[in-house]
């Protein structure tokens, strides 16, 4: 492919694949924990980190790592402390992050907010080889955390109290997940941009869970969707000279629509999942695979299932 003849394209492609793997892997846990907006919050805070790098003429990626890790810890602490003010606290960080980012950039020598644009929406050509080393290191760290702590994080995200009553270090794991999300945001920042980072953590997961029955398979399918979107969006961006971030996110959304359509197709043709599936499977022998058997569900069993699903 001619796309690979350019050094910067090879670097961007590698960064995109790493991002496509890391973001949905972390995202599955974040979505399960009902923290889908966490990535957005960290993304906004990371902007201040980028601006700090521009101001001090150090690597914006490194300053973004530091500031977004602190931001993630702050968000997690606010979340676990107060149960009421959590969303307001998140909002404060959102606005503080954006305002801080713009203000610091204005203060930078010769800095105008235009230089922030490539961080907000991603930019292929700006991935330097030093950036790539940092991104690759972070991506490996993120995937390693998921591989090593996945079992514990799964229980944490299922039910925090059960996790505590199972002896898991709940506070440590919560902070670990938040910090891992922060690293993921920085991994994705160069390619997809800070304002759209969270989409890569949420949309492939939403698409995958249309088609899967298990958590592990959801993580796997979401990572496949993540890589497909990242590489596809990057290629489209290269071909048509578009910003890669929006192209990547739109491809992820298109995959979501296809997955929803695929799910309803599967449902019409085969298994029709619903409450009380096991009981129906038993009542009907193995015939629960046909929707027409639905009508044979005893009315009492059905009203019970409906009563309890409230």
């Amino acid at each position: 492919m001619s796309i690979l003849t350019f050094d910067f394209m090879r670097r961007a492609l590698l960064a995109a694949v790493l991002m496509g793997l890391a973001a949905p892997a972390v995202g599955t846990f974040i979505v399960q924990r009902r923290l889908a907006l966490l990535g957005d919050g960290i993304g906004h805070v990371a902007l201040t980190g980028v601006a700090f790098g521009l101001l001090t003429s150090t690597s914006p990626i490194l300053t973004a790592v530091i500031v977004s890790v602190f931001g993630a810890i702050a968000i997690e602490l606010l979340r676990s402390r107060g149960r009421t003010g959590g969303d307001v606290a998140l909002a404060l960080l959102f606005y503080g992050g954006i305002a801080g980012g713009v203000l610091l950039t204005n203060l930078a020598p010769g800095g105008d907010t235009g230089s922030l644009l490539s961080y907000l929406f991603g930019s292929i050509s700006s991935v330097s080889s030093r950036d790539l080393y940092v991104v690759a290191g972070l991506a490996v760290a993120v995937v390693a955390v998921i591989a090593i702590f996945g079992r514990e994080l799964f229980l944490l995200c299922q039910d925090e109290e059960v996790a505590r009553a199972s002896g898991l270090p709940v506070r440590f794991l919560s902070l670990l997940l938040a910090v891992t999300a922060a690293l993921t945001v920085v991994v994705a920042m160069r390619v997809v941009g800070l304002l759209l980072v969270s989409a890569l953590m949420v949309v492939p997961v939403a698409a995958a869970q249309q088609l899967t029955r298990g958590f592990r398979t959801t993580v796997g399918v979401a990572m496949v969707f993540g890589v497909l979107s990242a590489v596809g969006g990057l290629y489209a961006g290269y071909q048509r000279d578009l910003s890669p971030g929006p192209a990547i996110v739109l491809i992820a959304l298109a995959l979501f629509v296809v997955a929803v359509a695929g799910r309803s197709l599967i449902r019409t043709l085969g298994v029709r999942p619903g409450p009380g599936m096991l009981r129906r499977a038993r009542a009907n022998g193995r015939g629960a695979r046909h929707p027409r058997h639905e009508s044979t569900t005893p009315a009492s069993a059905r009203s019970d299932a409906e009563a309890t699903s409230r």
């Binding site: 029955r213 298990g214 959801t218 096991l278 009981r279 309890t308």
Partner: protein, 261 residues
Amino acid sequence: MTPRKPPVFAMTGGEARLDGRLVLRGVDLRVPAGEVLAVLGANGSGKSTLVRALLGLIPLSGGRTEIYGVPAARFRDWRRIGYVPQRLTVGGGVPATVREIVSSGRVARQSRLRPASRADRAAVDRALAAVGLAGHGHHSAHQLSGGEHQRVLIARALAGEPDAFVMDEPTSGVDAASQAALAGTLRALIGQGRTVVLVAHELGTLEPLITRCIVLDDGRVAHDGAPPKPVGEHALPGHDHVHPHGPAVPDGGPLGTWDRT
């Protein structure tokens, strides 16, 4: 070995607040090993708060509570405890198979870097069989009815092979088949000498298995001893105690179904 085994749970003068409101008002409770204790009471009487405080999930604002003789905050031997929460806390949109959820009950016994061992898988198989879900491990938990879901949560606690179980409303909103499965599971546990603390609105089919009952009233223990005889409508001959209760209002509804004696 110490000459006298400490009780599984021991609370002295337990006081707890939720959002500033005093929910437990001086509860003294000792649960020796092997006991099958039912915690009854009207909605809002503090049943859930009591069992969560016993586990140290809610910090006490007064008094103290110990698990196996260790203050709850410092207790570390969690593999001895199996907690079955109220079903409504199961959330999040990501699918998980029945087997994945039940396997997560082994986490206190596993090391981080090693994959699930043969013993882990065997324990999960036993737990699934014990609640009547053998062969259904590959189903998505989202497709289950309320009663089936409850059995999955019980199987998760069983998979950890603990000595003591704490179950919060395991029978609420559960269909007759699942109630029967639950009674069978409990009977087997009691036969093995395990300790069970369970919160219930009413005992129903579980009544013969219970060795001791406490009834909470406004955060205080109003009755402690044998299961009290039901009165009123519930005591009428044709009343069979199987009607399901919606889990929508955990402990906040104005009316309880427990008729106080």
